[in-house]
């Protein structure tokens, strides 16, 4: 078997609340992400899936265990690991173009190179006509397209996505799922995608990781055998959706007294 791009080993994360209580957010997570893998994480809310992603991005430190990128333990954000957030994260004082070329700007590329990169990646997300707009002039879906272009403009090997379509309406969401699969097909990135939508996971992923309620552990791992583009009417699709939803329901009801 080929070496994993990301290897999460025995990862745990504890929080201390303002009142001084200790909360175990993640408990002994073991996960390997292979090259070109499209992996979706689903789980009940508060199960620490976003925390897991933030640790993988180098934005937070683990309490125990490691995240390795090509065998090297992560100590902070890494150029080869990009991230798209659920919240709209474009810098509001910069035009769309200047947002997309932010990564190349931090790398010290010239203005001419940055323009060209921005043009290319805006074209990729079909936003080339909006280069001079500002975030407040765009819809939520458009902002997330730009955020994806911005993450890709740094040419990372891995793309971490934290419920990127969570705030969008159903129609826009399905549209962007298709776009993401197209981009993933063209650019062969390794994607780790957090969602609370079972449908989204089944539509997108090669593998689905189902997490338990707090403390977050990996409960199930599902391989999706369907070819793309996927048919939401496929019997396996429906059966698996019901199965995953049942697991999640068990998790939610098991942790009910604590909620």
């Amino acid at each position: 078997m080929q070496n994993p791009v990301i290897k999460i080993d025995n990862l745990s994360k504890d929080f201390v609340t303002e009142r001084g209580d200790l909360i175990k957010a993640l408990d002994q997570i073991q996960l390997q992400v292979k090259m070109n893998d499209f992996l979706c994480l689903v789980g009940p809310s508060g199960c620490g899936k976003s925390t897991l992603l933030r640790i993988a991005a180098g934005l937070e430190q683990a309490s125990a265990g490691t995240v390795c990128f090509h065998g090297t333990p992560m100590t902070g954000p890494h150029r080869e690991i990009g991230m798209v957030f659920q919240e709209y994260s474009l810098l509001p004082w910069r035009s769309v173009r200047d947002n997309v070329s932010l990564g190349p700007e931090f790398q010290g590329q010239t203005k001419k190179e940055r323009r060209e990169i921005a043009r290319r990646f805006l074209q990729l997300v079909r936003m080339e006509g909006f280069a001079r707009c500002y975030a407040h002039e765009l819809s939520g879906g458009m902002q997330q397209r730009v955020a994806i272009a911005r993450a890709l403009a740094n040419n990372p090997e891995v793309l971490l996505m934290d419920e990127p379509f969570g705030a969008l309406d159903a129609h826009t969401r399905i549209l962007l799922q298709k776009e993401l699969l197209r981009i993933w097909g063209e650019h062969r990135k390794t994607i780790l995608f957090v969602t609370h939508s079972v449908d989204e996971a089944l539509y997108l992923a090669d593998r689905i990781v189902v997490m338990s309620a707090r403390p977050g552990r990996i409960r199930e791992m599902v391989e999706v055998p369907l070819s793309r583009p996927r048919d939401r009417g496929d019997p396996w699709y429906g059966r698996m959706a019901v199965k995953i939803l049942t697991w999640l329901e068990e998790e939610v009801s098991a942790s009910e007294p604590n909620r």
Partner: protein, 278 residues
Amino acid sequence: MKTITWRIIVTLALPVLVVLLWSFLARHIANEVILPFVGQVAHLLFRPTENLISMGSLLDNIVVSLVRVLLGYALAVLIGVPLGIVMGYYGLVFQVFNNFLSLFRPIPPLAWVPLVMAWFGVASLATLVGIELGQWYVYLHNIKFSMLFIIFIGGFYPILTSSIHGVKNVQKILIDSARVLGARESDIFRKVLLPAAAPAIVNGMRIGLGIAWMCLVSAEMLPGSLSGVGYLITHAYTVARTDIVIAGMISIGAVGAMLDLIFRLWENRKFSWQRQQK
């Protein structure tokens, strides 16, 4: 067309009324030490380069005051903005400075006068650069350290406070997304924190300039002061020239309002993104 006329009428209604009331009262009181005629004050304002009670012209004194305020204020900006940004971003720096600085915040700038006089006396920029003769001595000696200090204190706190809050209110997501894109610490400061906090900082700078300008009169009443609008009006009072007092006050108000307007125009132009975001 009607709306423009209407707006002019609405804007001018109150000032016109006040001037009418003033001229009525002035005629009624008929004592120009208590209340001079409108015409006397207008005469002074329309001839700003005329020498007044051998203290130089109104315009000269305004320029002297402006230079003082801008110097003291520049100092407040130069120290207040960077310190505020660093205090807003690093919790430890905030803890180190905040309690200490909060101790001095409630002290009115005027309460500093005795201490400032003890420290600086009549030392000025001329003392600093060592010039004791000639035209430059006259210019530089007008800029007393004691005045700069009072003006600095006035401008410093609003600038500091709004810089701290500006940075503290920057959405964490913006910093996080810059970090995953490979931003170094210096990039975070220059390309995220500073622009994101800029509207708050500039707003604080505007308020700071207003207060610095207000500290002018107290600064110019300090011993050793022989010029400036603040000094002009106190001196005019001692020689019972109330018309000069009022003309000076109107000038102080007008210059202050103009400085404020410049800032507001700047804010509107530069930070339209913030208004439209809401």
